[in-house]
């Protein structure tokens, strides 16, 4: 399962980079979305996947009995998702405004500030 997920993460990263290298700014944002998702998935896989063992402590015990899933990566991913949501919402507004002002969605036409 973990090796399968590792391939999925790799493919997602590759797809994200490919989309970001396209000239359209809409595809650029899709690339950013894929990139943040693949990073989140990477954290999920790296922490190890434990099925059917929630990190709950039974009555009377001081520590969980046996191996349980690590809850911390899920907290990290949740935080990262919230941040990515805010940032991507901003990017979507940005590309819309950029399209209105620059009047193109082609990154090759946006070279005025380059040097």
């Amino acid at each position: 399962m973990e090796s399968l997920m590792a391939y999925v993460v790799g493919i997602l990263f590759a797809a994200a980079i490919y989309m970001m290298l396209r000239r359209s700014i809409v595809k650029l944002v899709i690339g950013l979305i894929l990139l943040s998702n693949s990073a989140n998935l990477l954290i999920f896989v790296m922490a190890g996947m434990t099925r059917g063992a929630p990190p709950l402590i039974p009555d009377g015990a001081q520590a969980p009995l046996g191996a349980v899933a690590d809850p911390l990566p899920q907290a990290l991913i949740l935080t990262a998702i919230v941040i990515a949501f805010g940032v991507l919402a901003f990017s979507v507004v940005l590309i819309r405004r950029a399209y209105e002002i620059v009047k193109t969605d082609d990154l090759d036409q946006m070279k005025d500030t380059d040097t």
């Binding site: 650029l28 950013l32 990139l35 943040s36 620059v102 946006m110 040097t115």
Partner: protein, 511 residues
């Protein structure tokens, strides 16, 4: 509870929230901006005094013991950076009173500025690697909005590059944190450092360290990852440019210093050699890029890149003296670079252009302004007795002691080319007569506008120029301060013990 450790973050956060609550009253927001940044500066000084007395200050959030809670940690280096954050925040707040267009002020300029300062302060003070990511994002989101405030064509084009590359860097950072957590099983930097030292599999750690290097390298604008910076930094209004130029890339440099002195020291022959060549190439490409430019702020933007090379050089040589040099250079650079952008803003306000070809005769009309440009410009180039001279002297001496002849030669050459660039600005903007195609009326109009608020324009510039001169004249105390910070950075054991071992002064709130 250690108030001085939390205040540099809490003050700008609270000020930002209060500014949002009083959205309609621009006058109140302006007053609050100055007062809050002043308070932040004061709390930074307090923090610096405290860290100089106690060594390390550690505060555990929610009073959970160290590896489980998020910790705020301040050593002398972090405290220095917080003080600089306060200085730049205060200077920009005062300058903004005059320079920020009314429309920007009504659309949340001040809340965003406070949020940016809070993000920067948080990044300096956190002792948790994931928390560092969160503070980076706080800082980035505020900077995105500030960069696009105004919505001109150039800003949009610059912002797309800036946003994309910074989000890319954040994704790499997040992936690296995930890999690190999977390998080590902790997020507390001190705990990571302790466990990395005992880990058998150093190869994996080196791979992760490279990911951190790329991520922070993008944020610090190191070669070859700097292209977003000169494409975007000259597009927003000048107070925003100056704020970015002073602080944002230096947060990347700070993060590099932190992780490559504390955590990733297991294979310095590999990692720090790469950093050394990155530093040399950053210096050279930055200064050559500046030589080709004819726009005031673009020249300065390329010089940010070039100067980042000097700071990374201090880290890359990784000797005690070199780290001192790097820290000294950061202190000097933040003040000088912000000041140069502020001067360019005054020139723009009076003469209506950033293009060197459209400018001229500033020395004849505004001799004081010319002197105020010359102080930071010569300091940037490293002319004694100004601050940049000592920064370069320490770094070159450190590189000679390490036997890196080529790199020390490059450092000297880049200093010379920096002087060439600054003299180019001096000759074009300040010395040559006013170009024929510029009519007198436009300039006089600008001059009248400035007269209303001239104190708010000139006060920060004069204050920062004074800082530059003082760092040069009183180089020894500043050197000693940098030495204290370098002592702590080169002995990561102290940091680990302070966070993990209840050594030093611990501020856990008792439940």
């Amino acid at each position: 509870m250690i108030p001085e450790l939390a205040l540099p973050i809490l003050i700008p956060l609270a000020a930002g929230a209060l500014s949002l609550a009083l959205w309609r009253s621009v006058r109140f927001q302006r007053l609050l901006a100055v007062l809050a940044t002043l308070a932040m500066f004061a709390s930074g000084i307090w923090l610096l005094r405290s860290t100089m007395d106690h060594g390390f200050l550690v505060m555990e959030m929610g009073s959970w013991p160290a590896p489980f809670s998020i910790v705020l940690v301040a050593d002398v280096f972090a405290a220095i950076m917080v003080v600089l954050n306060g200085i730049i925040g205060l200077a920009i707040a005062i300058y903004s009173l005059a320079s920020t267009p009314r429309g920007h002020e009504k659309f949340g300029y001040y809340p965003l500025m406070h949020l940016l300062l809070a993000g920067v302060g948080g990044a300096f003070l956190t002792g948790d690697i994931f928390n560092l990511f969160v503070w980076f994002e706080v800082m980035l989101l505020a900077s995105f909005a500030l960069l696009t405030l105004g919505g001109e064509k150039a800003q949009m084009e610059g912002a797309i590059k800036y946003v994309t590359l910074n989000l890319f860097s954040s994704a790499i950072f997040l992936s690296a944190v995930g890999l690190l957590y999977g390998t080590i099983g902790t997020l507390n930097m001190a705990d990571i450092a302790r466990k990395v030292a005992t880990l058998e599999d150093a190869g994996m750690i080196t791979v992760i360290s490279m990911m951190f290097m790329v991520s922070f390298g993008i944020k610090a604008a190191a070669f070859p990852l700097f292209f977003w910076l000169p494409a975007s930094y000259h597009t927003p209004q000048v107070a925003v440019s100056a704020l970015f130029a002073g602080l944002l890339t230096k947060v990347g440099v700070y993060a590099l210093f932190r992780v490559f002195t504390l955590i990733f020291t297991q294979d310095t022959g590999y990692t720090h050699t790469i950093l050394l060549w990155v530093a040399a190439l950053t210096m050279v490409t930055g200064v050559l890029g500046a030589a080709a430019q004819f726009e005031f702020r673009r020249i300065l933007s390329f010089h940010i890149v070039s100067q980042i090379g000097y700071m990374i050089l201090g880290l890359a040589l990784y000797t005690h003296l070199a780290i001192i040099g790097g820290i000294f250079y950061i202190m000097h650079h933040i003040i000088v670079k912000t000041n140069l952008f502020l001067v360019s803003g005054i020139v723009y306000r009076i003469f209506g252009s950033y293009e060197l070809r459209d400018l001229g005769g500033v020395y004849r009309h505004k001799p004081l302004l010319a002197v105020l440009f010359l102080i930071p410009a010569l300091s940037l180039a490293g002319v004694p007795p100004l601050s940049g001279f000592f920064g370069k002297l320490i770094l070159i001496r450190a590189s000679l002691e390490s036997g890196e002849w080529v790199v020390s030669g490059i450092t000297l050459l880049v200093g010379l080319l920096t002087l060439y660039s600054m003299i180019k600005i001096w000759a074009e903007v300040f010395w040559k007569p006013v170009p024929d195609h510029i009519t007198d009326t436009a300039r006089l109009e600008g001059s009248e506008k400035l007269a209303k608020h001239s104190w708010a324009y000139y006060f920060p510039v004069i204050a920062l120029a004074t800082c530059t001169v003082l760092i040069g004249v009183w180089g020894q105390p500043i050197y000693e301060l940098a030495e204290m910070a370098a002592d702590q950075l080169t002995n990561p054991g102290g940091y680990i013990q302070a966070v993990m071992g209840e050594q030093g002064i611990s501020g856990a709130m008792q439940p």
